[in-house]
């Protein structure tokens, strides 16, 4: 089972991850970070399928992914 960690301070609020997520479980938050950006948040962690598309998409390395136990990888990266 996979866990997405978004760093509020690294996020620039570009929304690319929100768009990239096949599960549509990422969203933009209402809070402004230190650099003046509204940053992305995980809305429904439970439904994450660990595809890593949000991580791959993020231009700012604001998203990391951890998995607990075994995990099927949809594609090699």
């Amino acid at each position: 089972m996979s866990r997405i960690v978004i760093s509020p301070d690294r996020c620039k609020g570009c929304e690319l991850c929100v768009q990239a997520c096949p599960q549509q479980i990422l969203g933009m938050g209402k809070k402004i970070n230190s650099r003046g950006y509204f940053y992305a948040e995980m809305v429904e962690q439970m439904r994450c399928i660990g595809c890593r598309l949000c991580c791959i998409t993020c231009p700012d390395m604001a998203i990391e992914m951890q998995v607990h136990g075994a995990m099927y990888h949809y594609f090699a990266y």
């Binding site: 620039k12 650099r35 950006y37 993020c58 700012d60 998203i63 998995v67 607990h68 995990m71």
Partner: protein
């Protein structure tokens, strides 16, 4: 126990970049860093930063770096590689830097067959200086030096670097990729891996052109920039491999006339 399956590559410095929100320079940086890690050459890699938005690249990679003058990165790369052939040398250049002021240097570096790798970021505009027309700007695209849109009668058509470079006789690896959506990012990384691998093997010069977004100067929100790139740039800048050191030469023959 939790295992981190996606994290910052070692070759990528742990800092926040100055890039605008949604600018895919950031993605391309990460891909280059991942390839350097995976090939295990971080300790003998030297990067060359261009003059452009990626001018500060030397702050974003954990490898020795050399800041080139505008457009001359391939000449700087030549100097470094000739001085220390054991080093893995790559330049990272924008389209104004490489395709405009740096045209002579990139063509001659490739034609000499310098064993270096060029990461060419084509975002169809001058980002750093605030959105002037680039040689790669699309017909009709608005920029601050063509505010009514690029007029091909006055400024000509966009230059396709991958095509142009692939017609040189000297063996090389030349490819084009894009990073406007996650799946294309995976292909882009594969192209970069091959480009660096050819250098590690001492085979040939390699260049990967990567289509990139510039939401700020395109005046298009990041989320819509990918779509703009796909609609406007992809058809004119086809993705794929244009030349391999094994394949023959690719220049046109005289017309039957």
């Amino acid at each position: 126990m939790a295992e981190t399956v996606f994290a910052r590559p070692k070759a990528l410095a742990d800092v926040t970049t100055h890039y605008c929100p949604g600018c895919t320079h950031g993605v391309i940086h990460r891909l280059v860093a991942e390839v350097i890690d995976e090939l295990g050459v971080r300790d003998r890699t030297v990067g060359i930063a261009p003059v452009g938005c990626s001018v500060l690249a030397y702050n974003y990679f954990n490898v020795d770096f050399h800041e080139a003058s505008h457009g001359r990165a391939p000449a700087v790369a030549t100097g470094i590689k000739r001085a220390r052939p054991e080093l893995i040398v790559f330049s990272y250049q924008g389209d104004g830097d490489l395709a405009s002021i740096g045209m002579a240097e990139i063509i001659h570096c490739a034609n000499r067959g310098e064993k270096v790798t060029v990461v060419f970021v084509n975002n169809a505009i001058y980002g750093m200086t605030g959105g002037q027309m680039a040689p790669t700007t699309m017909p009709g695209q608005v920029a601050t030096t063509c505010q009514l849109g690029r007029d091909v009668e006055q400024a000509g058509h966009p230059i396709r670097i991958a095509e142009l470079m692939s017609t040189l006789r000297t063996p090389a690896f030349v490819a084009r990729a894009t990073v406007h959506d996650p799946l294309t990012v995976i292909h882009a990384k594969e192209m970069l891996r091959r480009a660096f691998a050819y250098q590690v093997e001492g085979r040939c010069f390699s260049l990967v052109e990567i289509l990139s977004t510039c939401p700020t100067n395109w005046g298009i929100p990041p989320a819509e920039s990918a779509g703009w790139l796909e609609e406007n740039m992809l058809p004119y800048y086809p993705v794929g491999i244009f030349k391999t050191p094994d394949g023959g030469s690719r220049e046109p023959k005289p017309l039957a006339d």
